[in-house]
């Protein structure tokens, strides 16, 4: 077999091997180089896999040549490929940034460990996305979660430790709920392979254990997803983790959790079972709306910018789940495209906030006053990303908003349309807190006359900011793929 045929396995193995290699190498420059190379290779692999899926359809790869459903299968369809490119792409952009960022935030002797754990986190996330085995998802989920807890705990502030601990408790409960759900499915169908479970479920559809499994899976994944009201871990985790960690997590961890939800809902259970037998639509709708409004409202009153944008993330996750709750192709397209658009936007935001922290020593609103003059490029980048969060035309966020409104109009739900746009106005409020502080207030007389961020930090961030604007105009990659992926999911033979 050629190397190309083993790409699905390599997608996970390459970052996985980078981790012990980094620990052995110890020196932080080498560690950085190894993990950077691993993430770029992983990105190249994901792009290659994507192109392969586009041209020849779903890829099925049997680990160790054990045929499914007896062996573990790696399965790459349109949605998986989309997520793989997203996650590995984000890692590929955040890693160059992280080098300068963690200089300030992590002690020198621990920096190589940062890269090690980052590689493990990447492995976990990519593994979740690519595997076609339910229990394997749990394993990778825990790999990524455990490494995430460590990454968060590396933050400068001692509250990062507590944030990591809280996330550990909540995340483990979530993962355990997930594994209970998988266990119930296994009990009822006798298989762990997702496609196989899907086939066997038709015989036991609607039975109580299966519905219980659905419930446990939903709750468990929702914890990881930070769906309101299970989002409590997110603000602290994002606020106190190192900036590079927040940038990567904000764009990947919750998105992969959404992917798992989509995979179970549509490829395993099937839309009829999920939406018709259980009032899932109403529940998801209510929780999504609650998240959108409550989180946006709380964001407006935050004085720490990282916390502000963390709550913004909870609100944006509300949008993502709102699209899911429609149960239509358009709604699903809105969900999937917002996964990408939000990941790009929030990745840029947190990278830029890291630049601010490095130059100004903190991200409190009081500290960043007058930042527009001292750090013009960083401020401009934050404004553009803020506009994307609001959903102003010309940014990626607008595309997602449009699709959401369209999905709501297709159902004739005008009240929902107005709620969606109303929450965008809340986003205006919290984004404008930053704008006013940065541009319309005089800088405090700080002897620490801050200059613009370093190029190694600014360039990756600028890349994502440019992507935010680009994907607001050329949507073929994001929206086109999302539409295909949504169509594939909805038409899964059930």
């Amino acid at each position: 077999m050629t190397l190309a045929q083993h790409l699905p396995a390599l997608q996970v193995v390459v970052p996985l091997l980078a981790a012990p290699l980094t620990v052995l190498l110890r020196r932080r420059t080498l560690a950085f180089a190894v993990v950077l190379a691993a993430s770029w290779i992983a990105f190249a692999i994901s792009v290659r896999l994507w192109m392969q899926v586009e041209s020849s359809g779903t890829i099925s790869y049997a680990i160790g040549n054990w045929p499914p459903p007896w062996g573990i299968e790696y399965r790459v369809d349109r949605l998986s490929a989309f997520m793989l490119v997203l996650v590995s792409g984000l890692a590929a952009v955040v890693l160059p940034y992280s080098r300068a960022s963690i200089e300030q935030e992590i002690p020198a002797h621990q920096q190589y460990l940062f890269y090690t754990v980052f590689a493990l986190c990447l492995t976990g996330l990519l593994g979740i996305t690519i595997t076609g085995d339910a229990f394997n998802i749990f394993v990778f989920l825990e790999i990524s979660s455990l490494s995430t807890y460590v990454l968060i705990a590396l933050g400068r502030d001692r509250r990062a430790l507590l944030a990591a601990y809280q996330y550990l408790i909540m995340g483990t409960i979530g993962a355990t709920f997930f594994v209970i759900g998988v266990g119930l499915l296994y009990l009822m169908t006798g298989s762990l392979n997702l496609a196989d479970i899907a086939q066997r479920l038709s015989a036991v559809e609607g039975t109580r254990p299966v519905l219980a499994a659905l419930a446990f899976l939903t709750v468990g994944i929702s914890l990881k997803l930070a769906l309101f009201p299970l989002h409590q871990w997110l603000p602290n985790a994002y606020a106190y983790a190192p900036s590079a960690v927040t940038a990567f997590l904000a764009g990947s961890a919750t998105k992969v959790a959404v992917y798992v939800l989509l995979r179970f809902y549509f490829s395993v259970f099937g839309a009829p079972q999920v939406f018709d037998k259980v009032p899932m639509q109403e529940m998801l709708l209510l929780l999504a709306l609650a998240g959108m409004f409550a989180a946006s409202a709380v964001a407006i009153f935050q004085t720490d910018l990282k916390r502000l944008f963390a709550y913004s993330s909870v609100a944006q996750i509300g949008y993502i789940i709102l699209g899911l709750s429609f149960g239509t192709v358009t709604g699903l397209t809105a969900t999937i495209v917002h996964l990408a658009n939000h990941a790009i936007t929030k990745g840029a935001v947190f990278m830029l906030l890291g630049c601010v922290a490095a130059s100004l020593g903190g991200v409190g609103l009081a500290r960043i006053q007058g930042m527009g003059k001292r750090m013009p490029l960083t401020s401009l980048g934050l404004v553009v990303c803020g506009l994307s969060l609001i959903g102003v035309p010309g940014t990626a966020g607008f595309i997602s908003k449009w699709m959401l409104i369209q999905a709501a109009l297709e159902q004739g739900q005008w009240w929902l349309v107005f709620l969606i746009v109303l929450s965008s106005l809340l986003a205006v409020a919290y984004v404008w807190r930053f704008v006013e502080a940065a541009y319309l207030r005089e800088p405090s007389n700080d002897p620490n006359t801050a200059a613009e961020a370093r190029w190694s930090m600014l360039l990756p961030a600028a890349l994502l900011v440019a992507a935010t604007v680009y994907f607001g105009f050329d949507t073929s990659l994001t929206l086109g793929s999302a539409t295909h992926a949504a169509g594939e999911l909805m038409s899964a033979p059930q």
Partner: protein, 485 residues
């Protein structure tokens, strides 16, 4: 240059100008030169498009698709041509005025000012030449955002507060009402392209049509229909060249332009007329005209008075368009031009008064006409145009509006137009009278005219106002094309 290339040029010239201005931060004279050259070049591009449009051609270009079925496209039709002409022509004058004003008042952050100005003009060109509602919305929002730094230029607490109201109302209306309206239009009609006769014919019930019209009208907050008009007086915290831009050139005109565009090219006059759903709009516009005039009567602050006058005058356009009669439509479109010239003159005069005499209230203006004859002379002409008296351009547009209203037997509209004319006289004529026929208060410091660039600018626009009265050929030809054919 081919016509479609000219369209792109009209967008790129101000944008490139903005970039160059930013680079010339250290060389103020060069920077000002860039602004002037950009504005002249822009006018040249726009004027080059005029012959084709007058002949009946519709230069168009589609750039690329953003969402399936929705592309960024431009299409120059007569109304857009007129708007582009006004905006680009007045940018030259406004730039001249800005140079005088900003230097005389020693304003800070001048580079940022000129950059945002140029970008605002680029956005205005985008609005004027938009070929579908989607493109128009894109540039409309861009215009809101790029004028925010201009409104909050002074950076004071007051400026911040004004900026908040400005943004809240403009973004609020466009996101809450306009965006759903556009998505719904696309959903129902399958397209958002501007088409003569509209794209909604036969697709919606009368009630739904009325509801959609309401969403559009209130969604286009820049047209300052009550109760979403407060952003206009709030924006008075800006330096006067910005107010001139807002009230004559770009923002408000983009508002009423969009209103007319939506009525004519999205709904279609016949569709609206047969559904009979514009009566409420006549009512709202009429109320705005009268209420705003009353507030203007009671405002002592000159800029505030002019702001509410603008709110009132904008609703003339909406009223005339809502009447749905061809004659009144001509009046509406002509009024876009006439009001632009008249109002910019008035604001130029207000800024000149502030710069030369440091006066902001009407009650302080006694006898100022003797010291500033050019300024107050121009003010008088602008006032005549607002009231609608010859030899100012406002007379022609009011004439058409009144004729149209009478032809359509819209007696409420007739009453509103007639009554508000009296109100206009009530708050403009006293200013002119005070300036020329009252003795100045004792103890006034001596001052002369405003700086030369400012005087040149306001004289030019005053002459333009009168010129439009005598030679309304081009605007009339464009308007006739839009309504007659």
């Amino acid at each position: 240059m081919a016509a479609d290339e000219l369209i792109i040029a009209a967008l790129l010239v101000p944008a490139a100008g903005a970039a160059l201005i930013a680079l010339c931060d250290r060389a103020p004279n060069l920077r000002e030169g860039v602004t002037l050259v950009s504005s002249v070049l822009l006018l040249l591009c726009v004027v080059s498009l005029l012959p084709d449009v007058l002949d009946g051609a519709r230069p168009a270009i589609t750039l690329f698709e953003v969402l399936p079925g929705l592309s960024i496209a431009f299409d120059v039709e007569p109304l857009g041509m007129l708007f582009a002409l006004i905006a680009s022509g007045l940018w030259i004058v406004n730039s001249l005025y800005s140079i005088g004003y900003m230097r005389a008042n020693r304003e800070h952050a001048q580079t940022r000012f000129y950059v945002c100005f140029a970008l605002a003009l680029a956005a205005t060109m985008g609005v004027a030449m938009a070929g579908n509602m989607f493109t128009l919305f894109l540039f409309y929002e861009m215009l809101t955002l790029i004028t925010y730094p201009l409104v909050t230029h002074h950076g004071t607490d007051e400026a911040r507060r004004g900026g908040r109201v400005y943004l809240a109302l403009l973004l609020g209306t466009s996101i809450m009402f306009l965006l759903p309206a556009i998505v719904f239009t696309w959903f129902i009609a399958g397209t958002t392209d501007f088409t003569p006769g509209g794209i909604l014919g036969g697709k919606l019930s009368a009630a739904a049509l009325g509801g959609l019209l309401a969403l559009y009208m209130f969604g286009i907050g820049k047209a300052a229909l009550m109760p979403f008009h407060r952003w206009l007086p709030a924006a008075m915290v800006a330096p006067t060249p910005v107010s001139a831009l807002l009230h004559a050139v770009a923002v408000v005109k983009a508002g009423v332009f969009s209103v007319v565009k939506v009525i004519v090219y999205v709904f279609g006059i016949d569709t609206l007329a047969s559904a009979g759903v514009t009566d409420w709009l006549v009512g709202v516009a009429g109320f705005t005209i009268v209420a705003a005039s009353v507030v203007a009567l009671n405002s002592d602050n000159l800029k505030r008075r002019l702001a509410y006058s603008t709110v009132s005058q904008l609703s003339y356009v909406v009223l005339a368009a809502a009447v749905l009669v061809p004659l009144s439509m001509v009046g509406a479109v002509l009024h876009i031009a006439a009001h632009a010239l008249g109002k910019i003159t008035l604001f130029f005069a207000a800024g000149a008064i502030y710069t030369a005499a440091h006066k902001t209230e009407v009650s302080q203006l006694d006898g100022i006409g003797r010291r500033m004859p050019w300024t107050m002379g121009a003010f008088a002409i602008g006032a005549l145009s607002m009231i609608g008296l010859p030899p100012a351009a406002g007379f022609i547009s009011k004439w058409y509006m009144l004729s149209g209203a009478m032809a359509g037997a819209h007696w409420i509209a007739v009453a509103v137009i007639a009554g508000s004319t009296l109100l206009n006289a009530g708050y403009f004529l006293p200013v002119v009278y005070r300036a020329f026929f009252r003795a100045p208060d004792a103890g006034q410091s001596a001052h002369g005219e405003a700086p030369l660039p400012m005087v040149i600018a306001l004289t030019a626009t005053a002459i333009g106002t009168v010129l439009l009265f005598f030679v309304p050929d081009v605007p009339l030809a464009l308007t006739r094309q839009m309504t007659g054919k």
